[in-house]
Amino acid sequence: MVQSEVKFISGNEACAEGAFYAQARFYAGYPITPSSEIAQIASERLPTLGGCYVQMEDEIASIAAIIGASCCGVKSFTATSGPGFSLMQENLGVAIMGEVPCVIINVQRSGPSTGLATSPAQADIMQCRWGTHGDHAIIALTPSSVQECYELTIRAFNLSEKYRSPVVILSDKTVAQMREKVILFTPGEVELLERKKPTGSPGEYLSFRPDDDGIPPMASFGDPHLLRITSSTHNEQGFTDDDPSNAFTLIRRLYDKIEDNADDITQIKTYFMEDAETTFITFGITARAALNAVHKLREEGNKVGLINLLTMWPFPACKIKEAVANCRSLLVPEMNLGQLVREVERACCAKEVHSYTKSNGKNIFPGEIIQAWRDSL
């Protein structure tokens, strides 16, 4: 039996390892701290895997290039941070509208604009959800450890292929650059998903005709089946079509194929929830501080629990609601001025919800969460 490899690496390195494990073979990017290690590793490793690394002229071009590569059937990814993620919003829309699988790793840093270059933050939650214009859905995963960086990146490629959708890894500067032990999977240990390919004759294939699951099979450029991808509102043939009922059917399907599958897509990790009276709900590096706070409070006999969101979008509302059914109150610590707490309030409107926010380029420490919990009593 092949032994699992254990490594001591950073979150960024783990994302790259996860991508290679998932058979990603194309990377295009533009340098930006604190994500550049991913590009550096990709430039070193992809050529040895027969893949391709291209350094583009900006982040707009980077996401464009990975979409182009993915249309050839090659699993593709890029990595960036705040200002670069802002530039990617335009073509993130192309990946959504054109239903092109790809993975974008956004290592969150302080903003707005250049901000505290480059201090940690968790303030791109809503940009990730709504940053590209128009009605749409998005998948975003939020790792809180180096191991999760590895595992969620593999999962990101799987979801991306399964749902023919871009997937964002919403990492953060601290998780990306801290080093921890990681257990890497052996080949075959994790199932890798591939996009559905057309099965009928080339003459019958329509690039955007969905199966019953709402997801159209995708040919690759160079296949016998011609592929037509467009950023415009289109019909099943991929031709620009401004008929209102066609437009609505398309927009609805693009939205529903993600939101209706929230149960399959979303993951949360729960800790000490059996008898918790108050639950901390958070994600990323703040979930690590919150877990430490929970341990300390439990030692004093306080009934507190934790939900660590591994998926931010679609919002795991049902899973959170179920987990907190018996809780009295919720406390949402986050490194921004209160983006996650509103979603929690929407999902759990019958509960008493407290917010603890911090937006100064510093991580939230366990003591602050404990104090916020005491203040909420």
């Binding site: 464009a64 290039a65 979409i67 182009g68 950023s231």
Partner: protein, 273 residues
């Protein structure tokens, strides 16, 4: 006639016709030249990908029966770069408009030229933003009117082919819609050239450009386009002073240099070996 029939059935999505272009628009002439050029290269239909951005010109992709990637304004070359690097055996034609390519897409244009990646850029230059209603572009000649230059633009236009040369392009040609056969040949030359090729196709936009500048209808615009053009061969024998207001057509430059995708894959197989 039989050839036209064949080209139409094979390479146009006839069900999508009639097209959206205005009467007298030159985009159809350039698109037809592109189709004939692709036919002449003998490329397999499945190996051809048409990439386009946004604008009147970019709508051509929709009517063409090939693989198509219709992207965002100005970004076509960036998408095409990823595509070519992932599958270098594919034959890529990138259709852009003048504003699309030289304003919002200017950065992608110079970097595609710098890499000398084997993409065939066909730029339909009608000197104006047509689809958005006739605003001036970086290729609008100084003094010409536009909806955003009611007194005539003060800006100086790019010479796209000189710009491309400075950035590293290895092939550039200019054709005019008034001479579609030459245009077709130039696109073939660009396609068979290894490396980044630029074919600028001057094309009349009688609606958003010609009318405002009193250039007449499509026929007059095509005629004056023809009258003011001179082939690169004849230009070589003509005094500079006489060339001042002339449009030089033909292959402006062509030379060999390492092509990016080929170099990349050669380098990785060398490293592996």
């Amino acid at each position: 006639m039989a050839l036209i029939e064949h080209l139409t059935q094979e390479y146009l999505r006839t069900k999508k016709l009639p097209h959206i272009w205005c009467p007298g628009c030159g985009n159809g002439i350039v698109t037809a030249a592109l189709i004939r050029a692709i036919e002449r290269t003998g490329y397999d239909q499945r190996d051809v990908v048409i990439v386009s951005g946004i604008g009147c010109s970019s709508r051509a992709a929709g009517y063409l029966n090939f693989n198509t990637l219709h992207t965002t304004h100005g970004r076509a070359l960036a998408f095409a770069t990823g595509l070519k690097m992932a599958r270098p055996e594919l034959k890529l034609f990138v259709i852009m408009g003048d504003g699309d390519c030289s304003a919002i897409g200017g950065n992608h244009f110079i970097h595609a030229a710098r890499r000398n990646i084997d993409l065939n850029a066909v730029i339909i230059n009608n000197h104006i933003y047509g689809m958005t209603g006739g605003q001036h572009s970086p290729l609008t000649p100084t003094g010409m009117k536009a909806t955003t230059a009611p007194r005539g633009t003060l800006e100086r236009p790019f010479d796209l082919l000189v710009l491309a040369r400075g950035a590293g392009a290895t092939f550039a040609a200019r054709g005019i819609a008034a001479q579609p056969r030459q245009l077709e040949q130039l696109i073939v030359r660009g396609a068979t050239h290894k490396g980044f090729s630029v074919v600028e196709a001057l094309s009349p936009c009688p609606i958003a450009y010609g009318r405002r500048n009193k250039l007449g209808g499509a026929v007059e615009m095509l005629r004056s386009m023809k009258d003011s053009s001179i082939s690169v061969e004849r230009a070589a024998e003509t005094e500079d002073a006489e060339l001042k207001d002339k449009t030089i057509t033909g292959v402006i430059y062509s030379f060999d240099a390492p092509e990016y995708a080929e170099e990349y894959y050669r380098s990785i197989s060398d490293n592996k070996g």
